[in-house]
């Protein structure tokens, strides 16, 4: 198998005495959808934030495309080409939907002082941003203020921005939570289309059904540890996973 696009080895993060992420290994290969699954408090979001640079790992390494990215600030991780969404959506509320995507399109400008003084109002930029909006199905809302959009559309907007930043890898942080059934189905179709376009996806989810349906492989975390890894059907029958989610007979799962 070829070298992984994203490789995590021995990743740990402690907050005081709490081991939020404990010695986790994980590899993400080009073109796949990897699910990061686990009950609430399992350390999924901390893991995610370690990759994105929001937290600095206590131990372990993260490599993207062979280069280390652990310890970088969030804007530096983004500059390497990793796009992300937020579980609690974070639109630029006063800007239009189109401008939201344009901000993300500037990823190649913000790192160099000499490149940040050009205009973002050019036609080429607008067309590229519109193409991204079309990909996620928001083209007709381009002129709308982002703050006025309902949650489902904001999730799509977040994906459009993430795609502008990470043309190879996007991390989706619970993009499906709080949505209606039809919206979930449409968003699932969108994620599949994105993968078909050659983008690798790391999906954090606690919705079992969505994860099982979408992912090629799944890594399950519980109490910060990796307790299982495999295809959806393997995971479904893994006793450790069943225990983590449902508890074993006669023994209550510790909260």
């Amino acid at each position: 198998m070829s070298a992984p696009l994203l490789e995590i080895t021995g990743l740990s993060k402690t907050f005081g005495g709490l081991k939020a992420v404990d010695n986790v290994d994980m590899a993400l290969y080009s073109g796949e959808i990897l699910g990061l699954l686990g009950p609430n408090g399992a350390g999924k979001t901390v893991c995610f934030n370690l990759i994105c640079g929001v937290y600095r790992p206590s131990a372990g390494r993260i490599r993207f495309d062979g280069r280390r990215i652990d310890g970088l600030a969030p804007h530096e991780v983004a500059a390497r080409g990793i796009g992300r969404t937020f579980q609690i959506v974070k639109p630029f509320a006063a800007l239009s939907v189109l401008e939201n995507v344009l901000v993300a399109r500037g990823i190649r400008r913000y790192g160099r002082f000499s490149r940040m003084w050009g205009s973002w109002r050019g036609r080429g930029e607008k067309e590229a941003a519109m193409a991204l909006l079309e990909r996620v199905g928001l083209a007709e809302l381009a002129g709308r203020k982002a703050g006025l959009l309902p949650l489902g559309n904001l999730r799509r907007l977040e994906i459009a921005r993430a795609l502008a930043v990470g043309s190879r890898l996007v991390l989706l942080d619970e993009s499906f939570s709080g949505l209606r059934h039809e919206e979930i189905a449409r968003l699932e179709a969108l994620v599949r289309r994105i993968r078909e376009d050659g983008v690798t996806i790391l999906l954090i989810e606690h919705n079992m059904r969505v994860t099982m349906g979408l992912c090629d492989r799944i890594v399950v975390l519980d109490h910060g540890r990796r307790i299982a890894e495999g295809t959806p059907s393997e995971i479904q029958h893994d006793p450790a996973v069943i225990e983590a989610y449902l508890g074993t007979k006669g023994k209550r799962h510790a909260a």
Partner: protein, 294 residues
């Protein structure tokens, strides 16, 4: 135009330039500053010292003044911009008091006597005064407005809007919060420095109280009344708060009361300012809804 009107107009234009700088920091980048008068003062004192002690001409000193104001902005911005919201507000108030105290107590800056004998601006061998100086100020206002306009269209400006709206999301798009906040801060303090230089050469005598904390509040009030983030807000705000005190001269004792009432009414009924989204002025003039900057 009478000398009286020209005096009022000149001061309004100078304030508008300074408020443009504040607009870059507060309106575009969303970083609250309650100490903008400090940078206005740093510009004025630098210009005054270069003119009186250094015997620089206004034109020779001007690039230095803007550079020094921007540099001091950079130095003071580095620690300040690491804190947010209320803490940033308090830090910038602190900067204002410290800078004022330095002007007041360090003999080099003239102490309580201030600095006098600042020469008039010369252009092509002519001393600029009255309407000619007003024209000079208007010229600089036009330059500053052009810079602001261009900033709102640049990637750097877009990055600042993004930071103002949602810092974490902006960082996830490659925008370094420190770098772009500082960019806005340096640009804004540089404009304040330019306004300060014009002020020093216009008043020809300056003292520390010209740049005290209440001046910062007035500058911010001008911006809020005009509409934060709007290109023309600084000019409108400076005109309104510059003209009103003159109209209400008979009730000068109640001026602060009047200001307070006006600000409260603005915040209650037109929180976006007179040029803000959905304001009565915008509706009346049938202006297009504001774009990114609004």
């Amino acid at each position: 135009m009478s000398a009286y009107v020209i005096t009022i107009a000149t001061l309004i234009v100078i304030y508008a330039i300074v408020v443009c700088g504040l607009n870059v920091i507060v309106g575009y980048a969303g970083q609250i500053s309650l100490g903008h008068a400090a940078f206005f003062g740093i510009g004025a004192y630098t210009a005054a010292l270069l003119a009186t002690k250094g015997h620089f001409s206004f034109w020779g000193a001007l690039p230095l003044v803007i550079l020094i104001s921007g540099l001091v902005g950079l130095l003071l911005g580095l620690p300040s911009l690491r804190v947010r919201d209320d803490f940033l507000a308090i830090t910038t108030i602190g900067i204002n008091f410290i800078v004022e105290a330095v002007f007041l107590y360090v003999p080099f800056f003239g102490g309580a006597l201030g600095i006098g004998g600042i020469p008039r601006v010369m252009l092509a061998g002519i001393k600029l005064k009255g309407a000619a100086f007003l024209l000079l100020c208007l010229f600089f206002l036009a330059v500053v407005l052009a810079v602001c306009w261009w900033f709102t269209r640049s990637w750097a400006g877009l990055a600042c809007f993004a930071l103002r709206e949602e810092e974490q999301a902006a960082a996830s798009m490659g925008i370094s919060p420190v770098r772009f906040k500082l960019t806005a801060f340096v640009l804004g303090t540089g404009m304040a420095g330019l306004g300060g230089a014009l002020y020093a050469h216009y008043m020809r005598f300056i003292s520390a109280t010209d740049f005290s904390f209440p001046v910062s509040i007035t500058l911010l009030a001008m911006l809020v009344i005009g509409g934060m983030g709007n290109l023309w807000a600084p000019l409108l705000g400076a005109v309104i708060l510059g003209v009103l005190p003159e109209l209400f001269r008979p009730i000068v004792d109640y001026r602060m009361l009047f200001y307070t009432g006006l600000l409260l009414l603005m915040i209650r009924f037109q929180p976006g300012g007179l040029l803000g989204e959905g304001s009565f002025l915008r509706r009346r003039l049938r202006l297009k809804p504001g774009r990114a900057a609004a």
